[in-house]
């Protein structure tokens, strides 16, 4: 409550004209704050003069839960962080815990993990493109993207049984090998998906309205982006070539060939271009995974109860939205002493005020869309 009062006390009143600043509560129930984000906008006409973010509406205490359950039991909870790309979170958790041990993860498992992570990147970027385009008013892209996202979710279902929260991996590898049908369906998807990307681009990339709405709006420079700790496409659109798949390779990424796309201006349009290009690169990576997929076991021998040695590790991977990391402190028991999550959405959202100052209300919506937040991960 005190935040609201604090915010109200900041309303500026002009004694000369008797006019008052216009304060709009955008959210937590608003069509385009992507979940339960609440943004308190101070407006001068339609221009943003001040902005406050109010988060925490989806706080479930995931980190605290992690301290009370075993390492393998925490897996399904990670699904519910960035629920748009659940397998990516699973991957971050398993690779983080595996760092405590010197297990030999089978190469087939690593390839499948990389492939699934790229599929979840496609799923996440498709949802981003769908909602972002809808925010700017392009309705058809929304449904076209969902058509392909549905295919990706079907793939997850074929491989793991789940669609949204898949609980894809296990400590030490996979629960079981993916069925043969998954591989053929994946190949089918990879064959048609590039033409679908072309379809989205036909509607948006050279569309004058789209360019006018996105180019030169919500600019952040490379230095500022680094200072804010931004990661993911948001950072790369500002021209900083930083991708954890390259910087700190994990799973099968050392053996895979792909380009890290970067932008120049750091505006909404560049973020759009970077993400579209990432979709293409993901297709390339998955094709390589399918071609090079070795035969063999998918899980190494792991102890019955997982008790990491006393110590602490930090491990992060390149989630669709940015650097997603786990900081785990182990006291040698079955449950972690502390689990800390580094959520890209939370840290990227911190730049919202910087991006929005002086822009119009319509741009705020576009900028929130271009940051690509998911509140499940932001609030944890």
């Amino acid at each position: 409550m005190h935040e609201i009062e604090e915010s109200n006390s900041k309303i500026q009143t002009s004694t000369v004209t008797g006019t008052e600043e216009f304060v709009v509560n955008m959210g937590p129930q608003h069509p385009s704050t992507h979940g339960v984000l609440r943004v308190i906008l101070h407006l001068e006409g339609e221009t943003v003069t001040d902005l406050d973010c109010d988060i925490g509406y989806l706080h479930r205490g995931t980190e605290k839960i992690g301290e009370n359950i075993t390492y393998s039991m925490f897996m399904p909870y990670t699904d519910r962080l960035d629920y748009i790309a659940a397998p990516s979170n699973n991957l971050a958790w398993v690779t983080a815990v595996e760092k405590f041990f010197d297990w030999e993860i089978p190469i087939r498992a690593n390839y499948i993990r990389s492939m699934i992570a790229e599929f979840s990147r496609i799923a996440s970027h498709l949802l981003w493109l769908a909602t972002h385009a809808l925010d700017i008013g392009a309705m058809t892209v929304f449904l076209w993207c969902f058509r392909e996202r549905e295919m990706v979710l079907d793939l997850f279902e074929t491989a793991f049984g789940g669609r949204l929260t898949v609980n894809a991996f296990r400590l030490g590898g996979l629960e079981q090998d993916v069925p043969e049908k998954f591989l053929t369906l994946a190949q089918e998807f990879i064959d048609i998906f590039p033409s679908r990307i072309q379809d989205y681009e036909t509607l948006l990339t050279n569309n004058r309205i789209w360019i006018q709405r996105t180019r030169g709006v919500g600019i952040i420079s490379g230095e500022d982006a680094v200072d804010f700790g931004l990661t993911g496409p948001l950072l790369r659109a500002s021209g900083v070539n930083y991708d954890l798949r390259r910087a700190k390779p994990y799973a099968a990424y050392p053996f895979l060939d792909f380009v890290v796309p970067t932008g120049e201006n750091g505006d909404i349009y560049d973020r759009y271009i970077v993400r579209i290009e990432e979709l293409r690169q993901s297709v390339k990576v998955i094709q390589q995974c399918l071609d090079q997929l070795p035969v063999g076991p998918v899980s190494c021998k792991t102890p019955r109860t997982i008790k990491p040695p006393i110590g602490e590790i930090y491990h992060s991977i390149e989630n669709p939205k940015g650097e997603f990391g786990f900081y785990i402190v182990s006291d040698g028991s079955e449950a972690p002493y502390r689990v800390r999550i580094r959520p890209p959405s939370f840290i990227n959202l911190a730049a919202l005020k910087k991006l929005c100052m002086g822009e119009l209300v319509a741009d705020v919506v576009a900028i929130i869309g271009s940051i690509d937040i998911v509140l499940g991960e932001c609030d944890r």
């Binding site: 069509p31 339609e46 700017i136 008013g137 309705m139 058809t140 119009l360 209300v361």
Partner: protein, 323 residues
């Protein structure tokens, strides 16, 4: 014919037009949902009746039976008056539209002027709705709407001057008859482009649907409205689309006049042209993103306004020199 019969005929005509227009407007929403659905690889309404054909009736019934909420802190009288202020002008305009050679409610020698004058009253209803709702989103939507509709009214009016100079009359029937030699769209392409863009903005359609941009302002000026009052805004919006489409085909595409050599009744031609025009409106909605408020104003005043002025000047010059 005595005055009683005359009044009776007029009354029947009004009743027929009102009933037909209300039904057509309701089915316009069905058409829009179906067309957009197929562009987006969906099916659209399928449940109520064959291929969802009874959907508009079910929707109307639902809106009619819904609880009618008046927000506690709203200005009640203005809140109730606003949807009426929006709907009535949208329907009054139909009195001078020429549906075919013989079917129209009345012929006025200032027909077009009457249409412009009455349809511009609708913006008052929107501003009233935005103010009376006592909601910030509604107010923002109403302000946007007022600015947008007032400026685009100007371009719409100026765009119509070109064809009017050619027709030499404000009477809608005379304008149609003046095009027997050729549709005005061939003589006035610039005016038609400006008219079409202004018509999109006037009716708050994509890419100029800022007043009710759902992803920014929730639902704009009608955020707080429910039930039948909301239905009034909805009906008025689609009725206005029909009005501007009719004005468009009357002034630029020869109204009910057909292409020579194809013997079809005037009314059929009118419906065909109207359907094509409305299809383009819906098609645009499925394709384009939305402009921003300042960009909308810039397009209007910096691009369209000079264009219509040039068009009027050229038309006048050519008419003075050669005709």
């Amino acid at each position: 014919m005595d005055i009683v019969t005359e009044a009776l005929i007029a009354f029947i005509k009004i009743a027929v037009v009102l009933a037909v227009v209300s039904l057509v407007v309701a089915y316009l929403t069905y058409l829009e949902r179906k067309i957009i659905a197929h562009i987006q690889m969906r099916l659209g309404p399928m449940r109520v009746g064959w291929h969802g054909l009874l959907q508009p009736i079910a929707d109307g019934l639902k809106l009619f039976l819904k609880e009618d909420i008046i927000p506690a802190k709203s200005d009640k009288i203005v809140f109730i008056l606003a949807p009426i202020m929006v709907l009535v002008p949208a329907f009054v305009v139909y009195s001078v539209l020429p549906f075919s050679e013989n079917f129209y409610i009345t012929q006025v020698n200032i027909g077009l002027f009457l249409i412009l004058a009455i349809s511009s009253l609708g913006v008052f209803g929107i501003v009233m709705a935005g103010w009376a709702s006592n909601s910030k989103y509604s107010l923002l939507g109403a302000l946007r709407s007022a600015a947008q509709m007032l400026s685009y009214e100007i371009f719409l009016g100026f765009a119509l001057i070109g064809p009017l100079m050619l027709a030499g009359s404000l009477n809608m029937q005379k304008i149609v008859e003046a095009q027997s030699g050729g549709w005005f769209v061939f003589y006035q392409p610039l005016a038609f482009i400006v008219f079409f863009i202004a018509a999109l903005a006037e009716t708050n359609r994509v890419p100029f649907d800022l007043p009710e941009a759902e992803t920014e302002l929730v639902a704009g000026f009608h955020t707080e409205y429910s039930g039948m009052k909301f239905a009034f805004f909805f009906l008025a919006e689609y009725a206005n689309i029909m009005v501007v489409s009719t004005v468009g085909i009357t002034l630029f595409f020869g109204g009910w006049m057909g292409i020579p050599g194809i013997p079809l009744p005037g009314f059929v031609w009118f419906v065909l042209k109207l359907a094509t025009m409305i299809f383009v409106f819906i098609w645009l909605r499925a394709t384009l993103p939305r402009y921003r408020y300042d960009q909308l104003m810039r397009i209007g005043w910096k691009f369209m306004f000079p264009l219509v002025l040039i068009n009027i000047f050229l038309t006048g010059l050519i008419k003075y020199l050669f005709l």
